[in-house]
């Protein structure tokens, strides 16, 4: 490990600083020069994200091959390890796509565009802090950056269905999640006497069952809500209902990614798979989350709701991956963590792909009801293809990587001795496939004599949507290297 004193302490959070600096510049420019082109804000944001990525990769180069940890700072509160690097790269990727595609929401954002971009960057910074935090305080600090930023992003989007109300409901939903999580962490601290997540496992094993159970339950419920797992997914549905596609996609993808990162940090590093009660609770929650979201999707009449419920299903799958074994007694990563990390990348980009396809349709003034999609393949082949890939990715259909992620998650759950969780995840994915197939039929085989769509979405937005959709296909071909990277990341969690 590197020297924890001096510049290292600053260096450890360099990606977050870059993101916050870019957010500050964007906000200041928006205040001083309100009529500035939105492209300038996007450029500044993009520079910030790329700088954060480079910083993380430079730090990553210093990682020792044995432990996977290169830097520990702030008395062990912040670490730069393989897992942090993986998570930061993923978060920056999501943020970059969010920035590139914000053009589709520009008319609705109006003069609030700088605020939107600044909030996007602070949300990403919050996620980065959570990824690098190995201590409860840093986790809460990251959450404190993330949650208000996400709420703000929804609130500044002037969409048709009242973003103010949706923002408020999202604030309540995520606020309660955050409060529950913080309260749970406080109880865990009370039981263990430490806020260091790398040191809680042993004390927790000896803690009194009621206290330990309460703390663990609250933490899991809070994190489940953050990743939008049903039935704690109301905030996610509100965001999907009231926001533009690009905004909803970015907000949900950032929340799910950050939540997934926190799941690993807290439950794998902090609680360890050896603590059976939380694993059972996570299993029950995962099974309910997956099945509930899938069953709700059967009745979905709008493609927004269908995609949102797909995102919620991914949240349930992430929790299910955890029951498949965190780390074994020798500290080796079992299948669950690898599957979760692989799934996290695949799911985040699938959610983005689905919502960005929707954003392209919004730009042409199309409605979001499934019946509105009739004949889309003739009216706009690009949007039809992207939406199909997005839905197929969320449903986990081959040849997309979502399929591989699901099989790995189910296999890992079985390996962990939780066949019933595997059964629930498989059943939920297959149930979700039914409404997804119905939507595909509307897109490709139901004729509609409507004129072709103009394709008004900006080029960058289309490129971002294509990139996310294509990732789903490419990731299944290069699943081997991706899982190798996920495996390397998991090593540092020991």
């Amino acid at each position: 490990m590197a020297d924890p004193s001096g510049p290292s302490a600053f260096q450890a959070l360099l990606p977050a600083w870059f993101l916050l600096l870019a957010a500050l510049v964007t906000a200041l420019l928006g205040w001083l020069r309100p009529r500035l082109w939105i492209a300038v804000h996007r450029l500044i944001g993009g520079i910030g994200v790329v700088a954060a990525l480079i910083a993380e990769v430079v730090l990553f180069r210093g990682i020792t091959s044995i432990t996977g940890i290169s830097l520990v700072a702030y008395g062990g509160s912040v670490v730069v390890d393989n897992f942090a690097t993986y998570s930061v790269v993923l978060l920056c990727g999501v943020a970059l796509v969010g920035l590139l595609t914000s053009g589709t929401a520009a008319p609705a954002l109006g003069r609030r565009a700088p605020a939107y971009h600044a909030l996007l960057l602070t949300a990403a910074a919050g996620g980065v802090v959570m990824a690098s935090g190995w201590e409860m305080g840093m986790l809460v600090a990251g959450l404190a950056l993330l949650v208000p930023s996400l709420v703000g992003m929804v609130a500044v989007d002037k969409a048709v269905d009242g973003p103010g109300e949706a923002g408020l409901r999202q604030l309540v939903g995520l606020g309660v999640a955050m409060a529950v999580l913080v309260y749970g962490l406080a109880v865990v601290y009370g039981a263990t006497g430490t806020t260091d997540l790398s040191a809680t496992t042993a004390p927790l094993a000896g803690a009194s069952p009621p206290l330990e159970g309460l703390g663990l339950a609250l933490v899991i419920v809070g994190l489940a809500s953050l990743v939008g797992a049903a039935p704690l997914h109301d905030w996610l549905l509100q965001v999907a209902r009231a926001s533009r596609g690009a905004v909803a996609g970015t907000v949900i993808a950032l929340a799910v990614t950050s939540g997934g990162v926190a799941l690993v940090r807290v439950l794998v590093s902090g609680f360890s798979a050896s603590l059976r009660p939380w694993v059972v609770l996570a299993g029950v929650l995962a099974a309910i989350a997956c099945l509930y979201a899938a069953l709700l999707s059967i009745a979905a009449s709008t493609v927004r709701r269908l995609i949102a419920l797909g995102a919620s299903l991914q949240g349930g799958l992430l929790i299910a991956a955890l029951v498949g074994g965190g780390l074994d007694n020798q500290g080796r990563a079992e299948g669950g963590v690898d599957a979760l990390l692989f799934g996290l990348a695949v799911f985040a980009l699938s959610v983005l792909a689905g919502f960005l396809a929707l954003a392209l349709l919004e730009a042409d003034g199309m409605g979001a009801r499934i019946s509105d999609l009739r004949g889309l393949s003739r009216r706009s082949p690009l949007a039809a293809g992207l939406l199909a890939l997005g839905l197929a990715g969320l449903a986990g259909a081959p040849p997309l990587a979502g399929f591989i992620a699901r099989v790995l998650i189910a296999g890992a759950a079985m390996a962990g001795g939780y066949g019933w969780v595997a059964l629930a995840t498989v059943a939920a994915s297959l149930i979700y496939a039914i409404p997804a197939l119905r939507a595909l039929a509307a897109i490709f085989v139901e004729d509609e004599d409507a004129p072709a769509l103009a394709g008004s979405a900006p080029l960058l937005a289309r490129a971002g949507a294509v990139a996310c959709a294509v990732f789903g296909v490419v990731a299944s071909v290069v699943a081997g290297p991706l899982i190798y990277v996920a495996n390397l990341s998991a090593i540092s969690l020991r």
Binding site: P398, F403, L408, A415, A433, L437, L440
Partner: protein
């Protein structure tokens, strides 16, 4: 499977080691080309059709290459596995998965069948001018999926290919079906998703519980008695559902009835064949406990053959009749499974091929009848042989293949199957034999009602088959004749395949 493990060596020949990859993925390459092409004018649509036919042709070419190479190797005493391909895929996962392609005699025989049927279906699809791009793309992806199932030797890869057809089939039925197409598509999708769910669970169980710690299918899992029984029943349920045997046959019948032309041929000939392949290759090949349930398969064979035979007798819709006839032949395959002998399983392989050829031929011929007469009900047809003698001749080849007449594809299979199954299930074999005679009678009677008799007034303007129709029906008839006249060409290959399947049973 340790037997296979002993045989997985490559020849060192330069090119053929990627022949399975070429056979499986060439259709996808052409599908992507078709997807990128414009389809506004008739000329553009014709180009897409040409690309689709080329894709199916390429897959057929490589399938013939693979089958012929392996047949020659088998005849020369080679143990098999000469065309094996294995490359690392998910090597870092705690349960590694590899890109492992191989095929035994059963898989190679069906590889040939599937690629022939798809090639003929792609020719038949030239007559369609609606949504040409969607039809071509989905058909080629379907072909990739089915060929992939037949050569996948890794669980993850097998599941990948197995669940790939759900969306294309659903879209094809919804887009090109008739009647209750939405219901038929939904029923198929639900059944198919259910089989996928069961197989994912089995894959997880044998990977994790079977001490394999890998997704590879080349090694037999060491499952305890209960675990093996659970996996056996789960796979049997999944594959029997896919085979559409009685009593879970109605979804496939709806699909055949509510689809048109080329699609009905593909669905009727190929979909249940995939289930049969799974039953033989996985359920029998992986779980030695299967030998204890021989009676179950025998009983199912009797029920399927008799029920489907009687329903064929009652059927008035030509496609439904063909569907029931296909089910009777699937009952024969079940008898082969119950027989548990090399001879009965080799017979089942031949029957599967003959069944696929016969059903495809009859479905395409039924489509030609419907196009010309605007009728599909047998009671409304008659005397067609006067106007369409070529069509009547091809129909005759189809029903004779299904009936197991000498010199056509079905004969050798039935001979081997009944000979192989008789020692183990004497009465069942006799009853099933009776069922096949009933089927032969029904098919001949149908031919008489549709083609013979006095010239029908309403059909005086019916024209005979065109060049394109004669081409694709002729290919199917020629392949059936080939298997009828020269069955010995593949017998060593198919026998080796059957031996591979039976190896764990004899070991267990």
């Amino acid at each position: 499977m340790s037997f296979l493990a002993q045989t997985t060596t490559t020849t060192g020949v330069n090119f053929p080691t990627i022949v399975f990859t070429l056979a499986v993925w060439s259709a996808t390459v052409f599908a992507l080309i078709a997807l990128a092409m414009p389809d506004q004018t008739p000329e553009q649509r014709a180009r897409i059709k040409a690309v689709a036919t080329s894709g199916a042709g390429a897959a057929l070419f490589f399938s013939i290459w693979a089958t012929q190479t392996q047949a020659a190797n088998a005849a020369g005493g080679a143990p098999g596995g000469e065309l094996l391909e294995q490359h690392s895929w998910l090597s870092s996962f705690p349960f590694p998965s590899t890109y492992h392609l191989d095929a035994d005699g059963l898989g190679l025989g069906l590889l040939l069948l599937v690629s022939v049927v798809f090639f003929c279906a792609s020719l038949a699809a030239w007559r369609n001018d609606r949504r040409v791009k969607l039809l071509s793309f989905c058909m080629l992806i379907l072909e990739t999926a089915f060929l992939g199932v037949l050569v996948a030797y890794d669980w993850l890869l097998f599941l990948f290919f197995w669940s790939l057809p759900v969306a294309p089939v659903y879209l094809l039925v919804r887009g090109f079906g008739r009647g209750h197409r939405a219901r038929a598509a939904s029923r198929y999708a639900i059944a198919s998703l259910l089989t996928t769910a069961l197989l994912i669970l089995v894959a997880g169980l044998i990977t994790v519980q079977g001490n394999l710690r890998a997704f590879d299918m080349g090694t037999l899992p060491t499952l305890p008695g209960t675990g093996q029984a659970v996996c056996f029943w789960l796979t049997a349920a999944a594959f029997l559902l896919a085979m559409a045997v009685v009593p879970v046959h109605s979804a496939l019948l709806d699909l055949e009835e509510d689809s048109t032309g080329a699609l009905a041929a593909v669905f009727g000939a190929v979909l249940p064949t995939m289930g049969a392949y799974g039953l033989l290759h996985v359920t029998l090949g992986f779980f030695p406990i299967a030998v204890n349930y021989s009676l179950f398969f025998a009983a199912l064979a009797v029920v399927t053959v008799l029920w489907s035979g009687v329903m064929a007798l009652r059927a008035d819709d030509l496609r439904r009749l063909i569907g029931h006839a296909g089910n009777v032949l699937m009952g024969l395959v079940l008898l082969g499974v119950a027989g548990h002998t090399t001879i009965s399983l080799t017979g089942a392989t031949y029957i599967l091929i003959a069944r696929g050829l016969a059903v495809a031929l009859l479905m395409l011929a039924a489509s030609a009848i419907q196009e010309r007469t605007r009728r599909i009900r047998i009671s409304q047809l008659g005397g067609l042989a006067w106007q369409a003698p070529h069509l009547a001749a091809f129909w005759g080849v189809g029903i004779l293949t299904a009936s197991g007449i000498p010199l056509l594809g079905g004969f050798f299979g039935e001979l081997l199957l009944f000979t192989g199954a008789f020692p183990a299930h004497r009465w069942t074999t006799v009853v099933v034999l009776g069922g096949t005679l009933l089927l032969a009678g029904v098919l001949l009677w149908t031919a008489q009602r549709v083609f013979a008799g006095a010239e029908h007034e309403g059909f005086s303007r019916v024209r005979d088959l065109g060049v394109l129709e004669i081409t694709y029906l002729g290919i199917l008839a020629a392949v059936s004749l080939f298997f009828g006249i020269l069955p010995a060409h593949f017998d060593t290959l198919f026998m080796n395949g059957a031996t591979n399947i039976l190896y764990p049973l004899s070991a267990g």
